[in-house]
């Protein structure tokens, strides 16, 4: 503002030039701040974006795998519900179908529930809508383009919901979701400062990834047990597991064996370089936590989860006890979330005094 008020008209060529920099303008603002509420919003935006992308991959691969299975051997659509962890909500919602005597969940009901139900935060549309709401709240701390890309993803997906009706067009729609989420991630990685808001977003993303990976393993491992030995479809099943986590190619490059229970588990749990492997997600989470103040409890919980994963005896798990083990991992992941929530989003400010008053 300074000396350039309305009198600017004498300088029509420079109607709005600002005063020259003074020394203090060259120093970054100190301190910057991040509201607890904003941190929570970006954390959840990270989680929901990852959930949308992950669910889209899982449904896409399941639709493909369904086609490969011999008639009579297909696994139905319920496993999808378990992966997303919504079996009971689904049963409640579609109880009329069960009453009518339909033994298995119908494809269209499952797809409707997993893709379209905006009221269901685990559905793809629900996750996109929640990510959008959170990014909208967090607009001041994220790049404008990222918000626009998310808004656009939401618009395009809701405008084209009809595509999800047929298997053929559904693939198209799911690709849109995956590409849209990747675009947002790309914008964030390419244009967002590596500040605390970014850390919360990436922590949310990595925890959700780790969670999704364990869910996929849990459900698949349950009904895809390797007891049939040379069953050619065994490989198909494990390939599907890897594909639904975008892990097939990295697996092939990293592991000597063909995709089977043991090698797949080893890779998806303990690999340190593949970004959707649980171990890699935890390494990332810990790195971002280390940049935050007061993160001791959350870091300890992360280290604990990493220990649980690292100490898994994979060969034995293929013979049994996998489900219990994955439960243990999930509890450990939940602990990390719990500490982050307590420390940053819902801190007890009661009785807290600023330094100026305390001294």
């Amino acid at each position: 503002m300074n000396d350039h008020g309305v009198g600017d008209h004498d300088h029509p060529d420079h109607p709005d030039h600002e005063p020259n920099d003074v020394a203090s303008d060259l120093q970054p603002k100190e301190p910057t701040m991040l509201l607890a509420r904003m941190a929570e919003a970006v954390y959840w935006a990270g989680r929901y974006l990852e959930r949308a992308e992950g669910t889209a991959r899982i449904v896409q691969v399941h639709t493909d795998a369904h086609v490969d299975m011999p008639v009579g051997q297909d696994v139905g659509w319920e496993p999808l519900l378990s992966i997303v962890g919504v079996d009971s909500e689904f049963a409640e919602r579609y109880s009329h179908a069960a009453d009518a005597g339909a033994a298995d969940a119908a494809e269209e009901d499952v797809i409707e529930f997993l893709l379209r139900g905006e009221e269901n935060p685990s559905s793809i549309m629900g996750a996109i809508a929640s990510a959008r709401e959170n990014l909208r709240t967090a607009r001041p701390v994220i790049p404008r383009e990222a918000w626009e890309a998310c808004n656009n993803l939401w618009l395009v997906c809701s405008d084209n919901l009809a595509e999800t009706d047929s298997r053929q067009n559904r693939v198209q729609w799911l690709r849109r979701v995956i590409a849209g989420c990747q675009r947002i991630n790309g914008i964030l990685l390419g244009t967002m400062s590596r500040d605390e808001a970014m850390s919360f977003l990436l922590i949310g993303q990595n925890l959700e990834r780790a969670d999704l990976t364990t869910r996929v393993l849990d459900v698949r491992s349950d009904n895809l047990h390797p007891q049939r030995g040379d069953d050619p479809y065994d490989v198909v099943h494990w390939m599907a597991v890897l594909r639904s986590l975008a892990a097939y190619q990295p697996f092939r490059r990293a592991m000597p064996a063909r995709p089977q229970g043991g090698s797949t588990l080893r890779f998806l749990l303990q690999d340190d370089r593949f970004p959707r492997a649980v171990s890699a997600c935890l390494t990332e989470t810990r790195a971002h936590l280390k940049g935050l103040a007061r993160a001791e409890d959350a870091i300890e919980a992360t280290t604990n989860a990493a220990m649980v994963v690292a100490s898994a005896a994979v060969p034995r798990l293929t013979l049994g006890g996998l489900s219990e083990f994955l439960d243990e991992v999930q509890v450990a992941l939940g602990e990390i979330h719990h500490h982050i929530d307590d420390t940053y989003f819902r801190p007890a400010f009661v009785g807290w005094q600023p330094e100026s008053l305390a001294s």
Binding site: M1, V6, A36, R37, E133, R139, E148, F349, P354, L357
Partner: protein
């Protein structure tokens, strides 16, 4: 009235002098006009002057539209609509109790104003805001304007916008209303009037900035040929002004305070916080401690806040002093402000100067505090508390606009030419029962601007909301403003909550001939 009449002629004069009202022989041939059937009739049109000749400032645009053709115009409108939707520019309308996000309605045909006219408007707006701030400061201190008989004492004491909590407070630089969103209108002879001074939490500046961004994409080629004043500097000026009122030394912590995501202007609150690079807080994010300082709940604990650009109405700001049931505000906020520990922008109590009864005294307020003649015209306003005026109003309802003195957003307004018998009777009854609450004004025939309506370009009534900033270090006025446009033919209602649309406003430099290369053979325009 007589004295300042001469002053608004100065504005009108600019328009007329540039018009070349006589035979437009070397002007464009009406047959090559972009919209041959376009006819604003008796109204002042912002783009087209007498004889269908474009006004000089708009001439290059006019030619461009002729070259472009009607289909391309519709295509570009579609592109603009898509972009508005994609970048998520919305406003919220309430249907019952649920808020629905609507895409921001935007008409791509810009409204053009010459920069020399704009300069006069700018000085008029700054003059007005300076005077109003002196008046507000006076109201909460010595009340010299009342003692001198400039304004009646009941105008101050009886106003619902008078805040006794503000008496004796000294905000930095004596400035209470730092941000003003004035409503300007133009009548049939081209005179520009201030219709309202919005000094509380005026909104719309985000739409002004977004409209320009979309226009730049839609008419990119025009910006190469036209010297159009930029609107972007507003945000930087706003940031400087906010920093300049900080009570602390060193880098101030500035926040935007919003009522939350369900507020109809939430889009703007988030937009401004993002543009300013500051946090967007809700009441629950802030706390006032025993040291009377305001703190924000951050991930690192509590952090001191110095300046609050608040977008919450006075009465919801602080449940300790105003509405105790407010969940939006911050207990102790006014205490902190009174102690000089935090700056509130705009200050509480600033609304005393923007009710419609005070409006009628603004010319006298300007003369009293600044010893200057008002630059901008004020619409003659009858106060129904005055018996003669009331009598006149009641017997001329069909020729007047009757409005409540303390409402904003167009609520409760009766336009005589458009009201039903019942509406008139109901207004008359209310005026008789509570004359103090009502004022009346002649119906100003608002100017029109070409607007794309279902594929056809037709005249629609417009107003204009520029934004003025005032801080201890100076004043700044946006170059142009948010032009609001009524969508229905003949309608005077431009509020977006009531279906109005918007336009980009171009303040163009018409003085330098080289700024109009599209205009080579023409003799007019410089």
């Amino acid at each position: 009235m007589a004295t300042h009449r001469t002053h608004h002629r100065r504005i009108k004069g600019v328009v007329e002098a540039a018009e070349s009202p006589d035979a437009p022989e070397d002007g464009p041939d009406p047959r090559t006009a972009p919209w041959p059937s376009y006819d604003p009739g008796e109204f002042y049109d912002e783009m087209v002057g007498p004889h269908g000749v474009p006004r000089p400032a708009a001439e290059a645009l006019w030619r461009h539209f002729t070259e472009l053709g009607p289909e391309a115009l519709s295509e570009r409108q579609d592109a603009a609509d898509r972009e508005m939707r994609a970048i998520g520019v919305t406003f919220t309308v309430y249907e019952g109790s649920t808020g629905v996000d609507r895409p921001w309605p935007f008409d791509i045909i810009p409204r053009v104003m010459p920069s020399d006219e704009w300069q006069l408007i700018e000085s008029g707006l700054v003059q007005r805001l300076n005077a109003l701030n002196l008046f507000i400061d006076d109201v909460y201190h010595d009340q010299r304007a009342v003692s001198a008989g400039i304004v009646p004492s009941e105008l101050v004491a009886g106003s619902p916008n008078f805040r006794r909590e503000c008496v004796g407070v000294d905000p930095p630089g004596g400035i209470w209303a730092h941000i003003c969103g004035s409503d300007l209108i133009r009548d049939g002879d081209g005179t520009v009037y201030v219709l309202e001074d919005n000094l509380r939490v005026p909104s719309g500046v985000s739409y002004l900035l977004e409209n320009r961004m979309v226009t730049k994409h839609v008419f990119a080629e025009m910006f190469r040929h036209y010297s159009i004043e930029p609107v972007d500097p507003y945000v930087g000026r706003l940031a400087n002004m906010l920093a300049s009122v900080s009570p602390s030394t060193g880098d101030p912590t500035i926040v935007v305070l919003t009522p939350g995501i369900y507020n109809s202007a939430y889009f703007e609150h988030a937009f401004l916080a993002q543009q300013l690079g500051v946090e967007l807080v809700e009441g629950s994010d802030l706390v006032v401690l025993d040291d009377d300082c305001v703190y924000a709940r951050t991930i690192d604990g509590l952090q001191r806040v110095d300046v609050i650009y608040r977008r919450i109405d006075d009465l919801f700001l602080d449940p300790e002093v105003f509405r105790p049931d407010s969940m939006l505000g911050v207990p102790g906020l006014v205490r902190s402000w009174r102690a000089g520990r935090v700056a509130l922008v705009n200050a509480p109590g600033a609304g005393i100067a923007d009710d419609k009864k005070v409006y009628s005294y603004v010319p006298d307020i300007i003369r009293f505090f600044l010893d200057e003649e008002p630059i901008l015209a004020t619409v003659p306003t009858l106060r129904c508390s005055d018996e003669d005026s009331r009598h006149y109003v009641l017997s001329n309802l069909e020729r007047l606009v009757v409005k409540p003195a303390n409402e904003s957003g167009g609520y409760g307004v009766m336009v005589g030419t458009q009201a039903t018998e019942d509406e008139m009777a109901s207004t008359a009854k209310q005026v008789e029962e509570e004359p103090n609450r009502w004022v009346a004004q002649p119906i100003i025939p608002l100017s029109t601007a070409p607007t794309l309506c279902e594929g056809e370009v037709a005249p629609r009534h417009v107003d204009l909301r520029p934004f003025t900033l005032l801080g201890p270090e100076g004043a700044y006025v946006t170059r142009g403003g948010l032009t609001r446009v009524a969508r229905q033919a003949g309608s005077l209602v431009v509020n977006s909550s009531q279906g109005g649309g918007s336009k980009d406003t171009w303040v163009v430099d018409t003085r330098g001939g080289d700024s109009l290369p599209l205009n080579e053979p023409s003799g007019s325009g410089s």
